[in-house]
């Protein structure tokens, strides 16, 4: 991590928590956890409120769909850490062997329903070009997504356009797949709080 405070500037209680996480998971503490726990009143606390609502709050999108959106936004932003992290969660959430990685590379190849595919395409454009217009939204609506579903997807997009930028700017360490699997288990069991 490019700022030493994010690696080791936490208070005693948080450092004890990290030791516990390392001991139970037998994996390093992910840098995203170190970030949200550093001066949590400034960023981590309020951001976890947003992300929990976006990813686990009421929505007609499934948890797997929202994790797939998160992974897709991360991939569009070329954020390796977040892509690997949320591919692992989406894969586990779907639980049916969907080839999430392959799907991210080509939305046309996978068994994916039209409303979700159209929503992902819109999120990709928004993330890549920083803007979308009414015609883009009409295309998503015509594919069968509701207005509320689009709003819900935009909340996911917001969260991961924040987190991905921070992962890359602060230089998150990208660990091996076992650490992301442990993180995925935690995020499915406990959410983002």
């Amino acid at each position: 991590m490019r700022l030493a405070i994010l690696d080791s500037g936490h208070g005693f209680g948080t450092k004890a928590l990290f030791a516990l996480i390392r001991s139970v998971s037998r994996q390093p503490v992910l840098d995203v956890v170190k970030l949200v726990k550093y001066r949590a009143d400034f960023y981590g606390g309020p951001m976890q409120g947003v992300t929990q609502e976006a990813m686990r709050g009421p929505s007609t999108w499934s948890v797997g769909d929202r994790e797939l959106m998160a992974a897709f936004v991360a991939k569009t932003n070329q954020c390796e850490f977040c892509t690997k992290a949320h591919v692992a969660v989406a894969q586990r959430a779907y639980g049916d062997g969907k080839a999430v990685s392959a799907l991210l590379s080509d939305l046309d190849i996978g068994a994916i329903e039209e409303p979700l595919r159209a929503t992902l395409l819109m999120l990709g454009k928004l993330t890549r070009e920083q803007a979308v217009d009414a015609d883009d939204m009409r295309a998503v609506l015509a594919a069968g997504a509701s207005r509320q579903q689009i709003e819900d997807a935009l909340a996911v997009c917001f969260s991961f356009n924040v987190i991905g930028r921070l992962a890359d700017a602060f230089g998150f360490f990208v660990p091996g797949p076992e650490a992301f699997e442990a993180g995925a288990k935690y995020l499915l069991a406990r959410g983002y709080r």
Binding site: I5, C79, A134
Partner: protein, 102 residues
């Protein structure tokens, strides 16, 4: 998702209006990606437009210019949230244009 807008507003209010180690004007400038002198302006613009291009040298340059690690932390957070907010607001406006305001 009725609480999401409230949660987002609370987040933005906290980082811009709450206590911080960077000045409120610097945090706002980072959020808006506007009006910051180099090297901070360049770092903030990278975070907003292509964060994957941020390097160790960009962070070091911000530190050498006199900012503490806590100030860099806050400014980068504000830059990221500012850009994501502009995207979100633009998309919601497009959705309203397509469906009519609710």
């Amino acid at each position: 998702m009725p609480d999401i807008r409230r949660a987002r507003k609370a987040l933005v209010r906290r980082i811009l209006e709450g206590a911080g180690k960077a000045s409120a004007s610097e945090r706002e400038a980072a959020f808006n990606n506007s009006g910051l002198a180099e090297p901070l302006g360049g770092l903030v613009d990278k975070v907003a437009r292509y964060a994957y291009r941020v390097t160790d040298e960009d962070i070091t340059a911000a530190r050498v210019s006199g900012l503490s690690e806590d100030q860099v932390f806050e400014i980068v957070v504000c830059a990221a949230i500012g850009q994501a907010t502009r995207q979100y607001d633009t998309a919601l406006a497009a959705l309203e244009a397509a469906t009519g305001k609710e």
